[in-house]
């Protein structure tokens, strides 16, 4: 039991550091791209996540279409009905625990919803929104 707890704690701490590290990297990039960069913003992130757009498939969707409104619950892929595990790292420690995976899903999902990749600012904003919600 102690071991499980320790493991859980370790995973929680390490996943927190992975996403913090990722946001630090994005911050550095953003400062280079935009000298007047003033940080990532949760409110802007929420707008990015919840606003609807004509996506790659030609249908009007938002990130909510697949991930739902409650990040602590499982949701369903809008197009395939496949179950999606909770998005919140608080509910699902596997989330935001690997930079490669974070980047893969940001690339894919911006393309799916916005029909283009996200900017550094947008990626930082939306990640800030998700991990703090």
């Amino acid at each position: 039991m102690k071991l499980i707890f320790a493991l859980f704690l370790f995973l929680t701490i390490s996943s927190a550091s992975v996403v913090d590290e990722y946001l630090n990297t994005l911050t550095k990039e953003a400062k280079i791209e935009n000298p007047s960069f003033s940080g990532f913003d949760l409110k802007r992130g929420e707008e990015i996540f919840t606003s609807k757009h004509i996506g790659k498939k030609g249908k009007e969707v938002s990130c909510v279409s697949c991930h739902g409104e409650d990040f602590s619950k499982t949701s369903k892929n809008f197009f395939t009905a496949k179950e999606i595990e909770p998005l919140s790292p608080k509910a699902n420690p596997k989330r935001f625990s690997e930079v490669k995976t974070i980047e893969k899903w940001l690339r894919r999902n911006f393309n799916d919803v916005y029909n283009r990749e996200g900017t550094t600012q947008e990626k930082g904003d939306v990640v800030t929104y998700i991990i703090n919600k």
Binding site: G58, T80, A81
Partner: protein
Amino acid sequence: MKSLILLAALASVVLASSYDKKGVAAATDKLYVKECGACHFAYQPGLLPSNAWQKMMSNLENHFGSDASLAKEDFDSISKYLNKNSAEKFMNYKRSARIVNSLRVGEVADSISKTPYMIEKHKDIREDFIIQEEVKGIFNCTACHTTAQKGIYSEKDILIPNFGRWED
């Protein structure tokens, strides 16, 4: 002479398309199941011949209208797995053999659902069962085939949501 006999024996096996196993070989590769199974059912590689898998993998940036692109190392590993376990290499499985034999010579299928065998097998199902929320489309094997994960697609294991068992 010996090789001629062997060839004849081989040809007779192929022509008879005899299979000794039902269904299709289960999907076992962890990376494949994790990556491809993130958005949809992890279809068994034995549901399409290698040329069709290759065609599909060549355009993951626009995978049925979604971006399913992979990191280079994962792309390579999954491509290799699909190619090694594709339908024409597992003709001893009933479903793999049926799918391969339904394709015209030179025909490269765009998806599992578009193979002549799959079209034929699903043609009598009412449209509203297929497009309903719980199913969404023919692509969603597990919605009705309760044993699809194991590679078993027998009629007795079919349970259509909001309908029930299916009998031909």
